[in-house]
């Protein structure tokens, strides 16, 4: 038996109808999902102490409270509520996964007791500073997309971090990642970057996304000795250069830049493992027929060009697809 206060009706003119109900659940449940129940408040979890997986996604909670007794909790999903502060989580010492995306959080705090936390999602909040993660060294996955972060800092102590997402923020400089050799994926699309730098010690990195920035020059990638996927879509790069810095990659995305010289494309021959190339919407693209044929001629080992199989015949939605198409995609997986 849980107590729930929920919004029954909200006309938008201040006329709000609420209701407090009792919600029957077995006392020995280990999972509870109350997605989209218009819950404003929920309490009496003392009656269900064994819950390990709790999802209250898409509700109307304004405050994190009443979960303190759920000490067995390993997964907590509060995505899409109206929470303003990270608090009252100290007793959840077994927590491994926490999703507080799509809320109104301004500060990362109150997580210091969650030493087992491996995955933290904070998408679409109002965070300005990366902080408050001093003790969370078990962290493997950090998602800060769509906040107001300006500086990469206070991250390098996270020695287990494998995947870091900072897309759609206000970052101007890649920094603060020294010594993170275990990092596998770094994602920074939609920021304010102009120079590729600060990546020298990321020897374990397999995938990096720098799309939708203001990058002019390909450089600063020589430390990424294990790089498989490089995403430079939507930048202002004019010249394909320093190709030897990423010679092991299998996927290169450089759509919508300012490449205008086919001679440059020949440099991609040095990339022996290149199977996936995205290069459309550059000045050197004139007609699809000419473009695809020239790429085929220069780079015969490329299997996917601009997202499409190299054999793809335009105009026929029901054409057959060979088995190797599926293999190319399997090889792209970073996870």
């Amino acid at each position: 038996m849980l107590q729930i206060e929920k919004i029954v009706s909200n006309k938008g003119n201040g006329d709000i109808i609420k209701e407090i109900i009792s919600h029957n659940v077995d006392e020995d449940i280990t999972e509870l999902s109350l997605i989209r129940h218009r819950i404003q408040k929920i309490w009496q979890f003392e009656n269900t102490p064994g819950i390990r997986d709790l999802s209250l996604r898409w509700n109307l909670l304004k405050k994190i409270d009443h979960f303190q007794c759920l000490t067995s909790l390993t997964r907590l999903n509060l995505n899409d509520n109206q929470i303003e502060k990270l608090e009252n989580l100290e007793t959840l010492v077994n927590l491994v996964f926490l999703d507080v995306s799509y809320n109104r959080i301004t500060k990362i705090e109150g997580l210091s007791e969650l030493i087992n936390l491996e995955e933290l999602h904070l998408v679409h909040n109002k965070i300005i500073t990366i902080e408050g993660l001093e003790t969370n060294t078990a962290m493997k996955y950090l998602e800060f997309g769509d906040n107001r972060i300006q500086k990469m800092e206070n991250l390098s102590h996270l020695v287990n971090l494998e995947r870091l997402f900072l897309g759609a923020n206000q970052i101007r400089k890649i920094e603060g990642l020294d010594g993170m050799a275990q990092l596998k994926e770094l994602s920074l699309p939609g920021n304010a970057l102009q120079i590729i730098e600060g990546l020298d010690t990321l020897s374990g990195l397999k995938s990096i996304s720098l799309a939708q920035n203001g990058i002019r020059k390909i450089d600063g990638l020589s430390g990424l000795t294990n790089l498989k996927s490089l995403d430079l879509n939507d930048n202002i790069i004019e010249k394909l250069e320093n190709v030897e810095q990423f010679k092991g990659i299998s996927s290169l995305m450089i759509r919508k830049n300012k490449l205008n010289c086919w001679q440059d494309v020949r440099q991609l021959k040095k990339l022996e493992n290149l199977t996936v190339l995205t290069m459309e919407m550059n000045p050197l693209y004139s007609s699809d027929y000419t473009y695809r044929n020239r790429v085929k001629e220069i780079l015969p080992d490329v299997k996917l060009l601009d997202g499409f199989p190299i054999f793809w015949v335009q105009g026929d939605p029901y054409q057959p697809i060979p088995e190797e198409f599926y293999e190319v995609f399997d090889n792209l997986h970073v996870k």
Partner: protein, 343 residues
């Protein structure tokens, strides 16, 4: 473990792209047809509304699909699509008319509904991928029963921030996101039903003076920052305006009743149906009934209390409106029982 692997979804995007690209950027459609507005990743609501209003499949087709699904589950194999298969002909699916003395003049029912969707399938709701997968799969299976217009959220610059990029990247990878975007880049921007009702995601454009203008647009393309295609995906009506004024959204314009009347007169239309804005009842009229906004994501973002709506336009262009209030679904989950017990 997701239901599909990345390669299967990529294949779906590639095939749907070719099919949609082969249709015009500006669709000419005939009634009867249903119109649905923004979905925004609310997949369970989409299913509920199709259950309520009717699916673009007949009951026989549903049974056939069920059989295929069960069989492929038993064998563990992916149902292999026939190489060089021809486009399925929907005429084969029409039930033979049953003669009856009292219904000599009754229209022959096809057993399925046709749909036009006004865009914004992704972002905000938790199941954007499911929405796109279902609608594009239906499009490939029944090309003349489903039409998908492009919304402003079917654009990299928007869905990188609002959720779709993150959803695809988290569950699969960035390359698959590219495949979805490549497909969005060929979506059509507007449709005209029986040369009378114009449908788009956003609103009208001051610069659209003739439908012949659409021939200059070459797909694939991104939604530009200014111009006709921007207005069709971003513009809003504003009852306090007369002409066109820059929008507070930061993209495109707002337009007033006089601008709308001039637009309709110039293009010889009677009505505009568009989405793009949450409206409390799921639909809202503007300037008499010259323009109607339709929104099909109920309780949008969990914070609005809005109803969702689906329009049904019959052969004679009579419009009926089905509204969907998910609150009623809560009653089936036991809350109603609780309420009665208290009395």
């Amino acid at each position: 473990m997701d239901l599909f692997c990345a390669a299967e979804l990529a294949e779906l995007c590639h095939r749907a792209r070719e099919l949609i690209w082969s249709e015009p950027i500006f669709l000419k459609l005939e009634a009867p047809i249903c119109v649905m507005g923004d979905i925004h990743g609310q997949f369970d609501d989409l299913l509920a509304m199709l259950d309520m209003n009717g699916w673009p499949l007949s009951s026989q087709e549903f049974e056939a699909l069920k059989d295929i699904t069960v069989r492929s589950r038993e064998t563990g194999k992916r149902p292999q699509s026939e190489p060089h298969s021809t486009q399925p002909e929907s005429s084969n699916d029409v039930k033979p008319p049953v003669a009856a003395p009292k219904s000599v003049n009754k229209e022959v029912t096809t057993g399925y509904k046709r749909y036009l969707f006004l865009g914004d399938y992704v972002d905000r709701g938790p199941f954007s991928m499911e929405v796109v997968i279902l609608l594009t799969a239906l499009k490939l299976a029944y090309p003349d029963r489903i039409y998908l217009l492009r919304g402003n959220h079917e654009s990299r610059s928007v869905n990188t921030s609002y959720g779709f990029y993150r959803e695809v990247n988290y569950r699969y990878d960035a390359q698959l996101y590219e495949c979805f975007q490549n497909m969005f880049n060929v979506f059509p921007f507007c449709a005209v039903i029986n040369n009378t009702i114009m449908c788009m995601h956003g609103g009208i454009s001051e610069h659209l003076t003739s439908f012949n203008q659409f021939s200059v647009f070459k797909r694939p393309l991104e939604i530009p920052d200014v111009g006709v295609l921007t207005d069709l995906t971003w513009a809003d009506p504003d009852p306090t305006e007369k002409g066109y004024k820059p929008s507070a959204r930061g993209a495109s314009f707002v337009f007033g009743p006089p601008a709308l009347r001039a637009f309709l007169k110039k293009l010889d239309l009677q009505m505009v149906i568009r989405g793009h804005q949450v409206v409390e009842d799921g639909y809202e009229f503007f300037d008499g009934r010259r323009l109607v906004t339709i929104f099909s994501a109920p309780n949008y973002c969990g914070q609005n209390d809005n109803t969702a709506a689906v329009f049904s336009i019959d052969k004679k262009l009579k419009i009926s409106i089905n509204v969907f209030r998910p609150e009623s679904r809560d009653k089936k989950r036991g809350f109603e029982k609780e309420r009665k017990a208290k009395k």
